[in-house]
Symmetry: C2
Amino acid sequence: MSEFWKSLPTLREDLQRVKDIILRQIQPSPEPVRTVLAELVESNGKLLRPAFVLLAAGFSELEPEDTQERIRKVGAGVEMLHMATLVHDDLLDGSPTRRGVPAVHVRKGPKSAVLIGDYLFTRSFVLLAENASTVNAKRLSRVVSRICTSEIEQAEDRFDPSVTVGRYLRRIMGKIAALFAISFYVGAVEGGCPPALANNLRKVGFNLGMGFQIIDDILDFVGTPDRLGKPVGQDLRDGSLTLPVILALTDDDGELAGVLTKPEYSDREIEEIVRMVVARGGVEQARSVAARYTRRARREIDALPAGLTRDALHQVAARLLEREY
Amino acid sequence: MSEFWKSLPTLREDLQRVKDIILRQIQPSPEPVRTVLAELVESNGKLLRPAFVLLAAGFSELEPEDTQERIRKVGAGVEMLHMATLVHDDLLDGSPTRRGVPAVHVRKGPKSAVLIGDYLFTRSFVLLAENASTVNAKRLSRVVSRICTSEIEQAEDRFDPSVTVGRYLRRIMGKIAALFAISFYVGAVEGGCPPALANNLRKVGFNLGMGFQIIDDILDFVGTPDRLGKPVGQDLRDGSLTLPVILALTDDDGELAGVLTKPEYSDREIEEIVRMVVARGGVEQARSVAARYTRRARREIDALPAGLTRDALHQVAARLLEREY
């Protein structure tokens, strides 16, 4: 289990059970696939989304033990949806590794990667249909369908410097924040929280997701390869123009835009772009946008009922948002 | 709407409504995707699976109008699951066309094809979660997860002449017959048929699916390109060894097996294989296996309550199973 949860051993133990549920769910898959999936589950994922489900449910005052197990199953279903999108994303992006191990498409080939992702989708729906309410199963499916359309839009926006801040924000909303938000919301509702509290928790997830992704995008400009686990400028290399670039373009004399319109960027050009983005204040401005979401997330957490669950949530938020960027 | 339903205009009209439901479900997708999906829906698909859902529900004695619309939505959800697997299959098989129009991966590229398939999966789950019972939504998801594992197994069996009849039958069960069977079963249950009747209908679907697929595999050896819409020997070209080959191998002196173990087959070798399979009685024997399933399907239909719905089902079975093979 990831080091990330070291200071929250109870949650960590719960997440270990979530992992076991996922492993049981993939049992019926044919042998070589099962091993690949099991290794993916065992690798160093933080299981953030199930953690959100569990933390949100922790705000309920009910929680008999049988609800707990059901909530863990819902968390497992959410993580499997996420895993399905990861397996497909790694294939589509040509990413060689995931969580330090070779990506599924590298190990089993592109065809199996498509089918293994599909398998995870359908198995997660089996689990969710069984353990979540109909309306929550529907909400989760809808959010994941939105992840797909956001990815399609992102693919179409590649190497296109006319992308606006609004379109960027909508894209990361669809790709990340919506699933963070619905994980909190579904956990809260399934746990038996009253609607107003569930809505507060949804907002925590939303702002956490937005802040988290913007920081990720900033780190592509100012991180070190060592800390990122990938080279600086990887998003640029893929043609993905994120917030720092988009903001830098608002203070550009045409030089940056000129390089960006090329159909692909050389290593030299990527260095150039990074330099120009920093020089035009793109990173600085993106930091202040991230800070806005971070502040909102904290404010929403502060508005939750005081107690150990809220303290734990503050810790998680700090760890996700206080990265050096 | 497909010519296939010409003699059953009421069912045809119902299927038109199923189509409209699917079109509404894909409304939220971003524009270029929506057009591609709409064209896929509008192209010449027979909508067999929703037809099975509707026909099975037709054996119920209940059927008030609001159930009818819900059943159509369940049918639409089943068709969307099927469409998702088709979009991915065409990509994985490199098929250039589907129902006479260029395949999605050809029109939108492989990345979008993966995401469009995922989008269809998740949208269909939204529809099924809303309109089918939890247990039926689960059954459908499980069958589709089995389609994925069957495809993975099939990919691993490519160019492998040691595949047994049992493994072949399990594979087409997972790929085709299970979804045919569950379409009948879910339609029956959602329509309010008693359990014994729903089980009979499930068996109709199963035998229909097995017979249908075996005939399809036979046609790869004896069909004409004109009627098939694809060249003879296409399965062989993809390395897929089907029932006629497997049966021919039981009466082989090593000559056929020798060619089959090659890592790919030239056009000349495909002609050779087809000739040897026919000469060794592979097609003949496969026909008798298909006939067995066809007979069983008919017997199961005969056991259903007499009436117009049963007559319609006999017509459908005849059209699916009495192809020249």
